[in-house]
Symmetry: C2
């Protein structure tokens, strides 16, 4: 688009809704990501290429990519290129897990030991359907797992996934896979989690959870309800977790 040309903004909008070129280009790149034109871990075209493709200057593409990088959708590497973000091969193994050991750091703790406790296919209860934007009764996958750190069971999680996108996921497949669950989702099902929202509460352990975590029933636990979203704010996972916080804590940075 030549400078000075009118915008391709909405036709009958109340407000003209001015949208700068870099925003429109951001949307175009976003569509490429959604359509898996470039897969997680792969490079997207260079700024020059994209500038030529979209007929804008490099600076405009740059600003679009800057925003995508700020949202962790894409990672810039000077001298190499810009890459689609991925949950695998990331130095930060657990991008969405904020639980930290009270002493030492994550690296000193070693890898988590994962154990799948249950995995079944069922019809979505009302609350799950609402969270995943499904109709009540649609097929969902539900699984429960325990994470242990250095031999101490620390997290119990119930995970609900929409049946459609995750058709074919089984306990065996999960157990066989070593890395983070979200990495498996990417490689096996083409679902990339982009962001998540958590609601945190303090609760008392129920009998089942207490047993799985090897604590007594009156033990206070952190209840963490997470909804994870793919591109375009489509909810793709509901996860309810119970965290022991006697040796770990949930860390959060405010700014």
């Amino acid at each position: 688009m030549a400078p000075g040309e009118p915008d391709a903004a909405g036709p009958a909008g109340q407000t003209p809704a001015f949208s700068p070129q870099y925003q429109q280009i951001k949307v175009l790149i976003l569509k490429g990501l959604q359509a898996a034109e470039w897969k997680p871990g792969e490079p997207i075209p260079s700024e020059m290429d994209l500038a030529a493709r979209f007929r804008v200057s490099q600076g405009t593409v740059r600003k679009a990519i800057d925003e995508l990088a700020a949202e962790n959708l894409v990672i810039r590497r000077q001298g190499k290129g810009t890459f689609v973000a991925t949950h695998a091969e990331q130095q930060v193994q657990y991008r969405f897990l904020r639980l930290m050991p009270d002493a030492g750091d994550v690296s000193s703790e070693g890898p988590a030991e994962r154990q799948i406790v249950a995995c079944k296919r069922l019809r979505a209860p009302a609350d799950v359907a609402r969270a995943l934007a499904l109709r009540a009764g649609e097929a969902v996958l539900q699984l429960r797992r325990v994470l242990a750190f250095q031999g101490t069971p620390t997290i119990v999680e119930d995970v609900w996934l929409p049946g459609g996108p995750f058709r074919g996921l089984t306990a065996d497949r999960l157990a066989a896979y070593g890395g983070p669950m979200y990495a498996l989702f990417e490689t096996e099902f083409g679902v990339h989690m982009v962001r998540a929202e958590e609601k945190i509460r303090a609760v008392l352990a129920d009998a089942t959870t207490a047993k799985l975590l090897d604590v007594k029933q009156s033990e206070p636990l952190l209840s963490v309800e997470r909804i994870a979203y793919t591109y375009n704010d489509v909810p793709m996972e509901l996860r309810r977790g119970w965290y022991r916080t006697d040796t770990h804590h949930y860390r959060n940075a405010l700014s």
Copy 2:
């Protein structure tokens, strides 16, 4: 600095530590903020003015300010100017409080009722001294307050402040002040909290807390330990809070 001139980077650094101009200018603006050259709520000089002052182009100043804005140190308002961030007169009244009502939103809840329970001056215990980067035994201010929403006491907080910067703070002065505590810190003591870190755990209410929150002693509560920092990462407040999560939850966004 003319284009092409060498950087004013560190003299004897192992690595030359290349630092772009916009970073250096960011630091200069930061110093102005620290020195209260411009106070919270006031505008900083226009991009053109700063560009002239620092002898760089507007674009370079722009990038510096962009980063400061991304860190919430400064707020850009198109057509008006760039303003020093403030905890007062902000539509988001509680910038660092993540507790949300389960139903409805913050606005539907009305203002919090604040009640100061205690306020004393004492010598810093070892843990408090460590958190505030003081020597053990230095004077600190400690206060305890209860926040209630719609008549229900929901939060108990113990706040520790370094005695020096907060000399003259009394329970009366706090009680007389209507707005958020951090707003008072700005206007009365020139201390602007810039960021904070929280460690969250699930605990059982002790006798004192249970009484203040009007819950039974076995009630699970969210324990939130916060360290708040001014400019330059100087810790200026340690806050230990206990939150009821039967009607509220701690909300967090992950990306």
